[in-house]
């Protein structure tokens, strides 16, 4: 186990450095823009670390249900393996959608629900503010 600061705390320190020291100190608009992007990217990574594996396992479970393949328990694989499994299952789902296998309205609705949930899970990490504004606008 590594000493503190942990990875989240280090990321927060770098983001704060960019926001408080670099961005105010530059009058180069382009550099400033990129520094803002960099700070935002670090915030995304920080939220991803904080979210842990729970959303990933949820996506995996939904995919196994849609594709009718056996589901393994959450603790049985490491995070990296789950990523690879989800990638493969999503590829299969994509190929089936494109082939028209999900065109039946009830099937399409189920796949659509899965896609919406997955996208919302991604946005909780990548842009929670957008997600909130989106819900309000609707």
């Amino acid at each position: 186990m590594q000493d503190r600061p942990n990875s989240r705390e280090l990321i927060e320190a770098v983001a704060a450095f960019l926001e408080q020291e670099i961005i105010p100190a530059t009058d180069d608009a382009r550099l400033r823009f990129r520094a803002l992007i960099a700070a935002n990217v670090l915030a995304v990574v920080g939220r991803e670390l904080a979210a842990g594996e729970a959303p990933i396992y949820g996506e995996y479970e939904r995919l196994t249900e849609l594709l009718k393949v056996p589901t393994e328990s959450a603790g049985s694989q490491s995070g990296e393996t789950w990523h690879a499994v989800i990638y493969t299952l999503s590829k299969i789902l994509c190929a089936q959608i494109r082939a028209g296998d999900w065109d039946d309205p009830a099937d399409f609705e189920r796949a659509l629900t899965h896609a919406q949930m997955t996208v919302v899970e991604k946005l909780r990490v990548s842009n929670p503010r957008y997600l909130k504004a989106f819900a309000r606008a609707d």
Binding site: I37, G100, A111, V119, S126, Y130, L131, A135
Partner: protein, 351 residues
């Protein structure tokens, strides 16, 4: 190094433009502006001593650097042809002056330099553009109608801009699928939306027109008085008017002012009414909605393309990298649109 390159370019521009104008010329104030990854943009002033061109000009030189970002983008020679046709047809656009395939090793366009703002986020929010926002929808509608009435044959554009034997919608879908396959990341949300597009294609357009291909606020030069010119013609092609009409409705191009459906500055109606009043074909609601969904898909896959340029090592760049994580925003919007169409309600899962 930078200074040497600049001196060399100044001298090359003077030699070329003296030849074009049959006059002694002086280039001054040459400076590089923020350009794209595939083009360099330089601003300069030109004094022409005598002859028919005699006078002083405020200009930009756009130079092709390296490869094109998008396979379907025009090269500078074709873009010059399109811009010239647009300008001659009375479209509000910067006047194109000269093109040469090789100025110091790069194809170069010289065109009029317009002053103003192109940053969408500023135009939709800054107080100094309040007056512009009031008239831009009408101005953008009128300009787009003029673009769509450009005579493709009379200007010989058929040879210089892409067209497809497929319907415009199918041409888009085919390209989206090819991009997804090349990038290789699974995106069930995009695949579902593409399926919806395949099943809901409106009847083919009665007429094919010259489509600008990127008709949104960020490509308008805007002053306090409103529209000064339509820029960035590199995605021009022969297609369907609805492509351009709906592109400014896409949520991303509302620049955060989501409730104003047209470009974050107004409801669609004043824009659509001006388009028709200036000779554009009326567009029905279903076709507009269809192309708004298509526009979202174009932009969603666009973010993946940009991220892929970073990941593939083609153009390593933090901004491109960060766009990969923005795809979900556009997917949410596209899914919400088709869910609304399918369920007849707002998308409850989006909350």
């Amino acid at each position: 190094m930078a200074e040497i390159a600049q001196v060399a370019l100044q001298s090359a521009l003077e030699t070329w433009l003296a030849h074009e104008t049959s006059s002694a010329v002086t280039v001054s104030g040459l400076a590089q502006m923020a350009g794209g990854a595939s083009q360099a943009i330089w601003r300069f002033d030109l004094h022409i001593a005598d002859g028919v061109w005699r006078g002083d000009y405020r200009l930009v030189a756009r130079r092709q650097m390296g490869g094109k970002i998008y396979a379907e983008a025009l090269d500078l020679a074709a873009e010059f042809e399109v811009l010239r046709a647009a300008y001659k047809s009375g479209v509000l656009a910067p006047r194109p002056y000269w093109f040469a395939p090789d100025v110091l090793g790069s194809a170069t366009i010289v065109m009029a330099r317009l002053d103003g703002e192109t940053i969408g986020r500023r135009i939709v929010k800054a107080p100094e553009f309040a007056g512009a926002r009031a008239i831009l929808p009408e101005q953008m509608g009128a300009a787009l109608a003029a673009i769509h009435q450009i005579d493709i044959e009379a200007h010989g554009l058929r040879a210089s801009v892409p067209s497809s034997s497929l319907t415009p919608a199918q041409a888009h879908i085919t390209r989206l699928e090819a991009d997804l396959d090349r990038i290789g990341e699974p995106h069930p949300a995009i695949e579902l939306c593409i399926r919806w597009l395949r099943h809901n294609e409106p009847p083919p357009p009665k007429k094919r027109v010259l489509v600008h291909g990127d008709y949104r606020l960020g490509n308008m030069m805007v002053t306090a008085e409103g529209l000064a010119g339509v820029l960035d013609w590199e995605f021009a092609h022969i297609g369907e008017a609805a492509e351009d009409i709906a592109w400014g409705m896409v949520r991303e191009w509302r620049f955060g002012v989501d409730q104003l459906h047209f470009s974050g500055i107004s409801a669609p109606e004043p824009f659509l009414a001006a388009y028709v009043a200036h000779g554009g074909e009326p567009i029905d609601v279903a076709r507009l909605f269809y192309w708004e969904v298509m526009g979202n898909l174009d932009w969603a896959v666009g973010t993946l393309n940009q991220a892929d340029r970073h990941l593939s090592g083609d153009a390593p760049n933090l901004e491109f990298a960060s766009l990969g994580r923005r795809c979900a925003e556009i997917e949410l919007e596209a899914l919400s649109l088709i869910a609304t169409a399918l369920r007849g309600t707002e998308a409850s899962h989006a909350r």
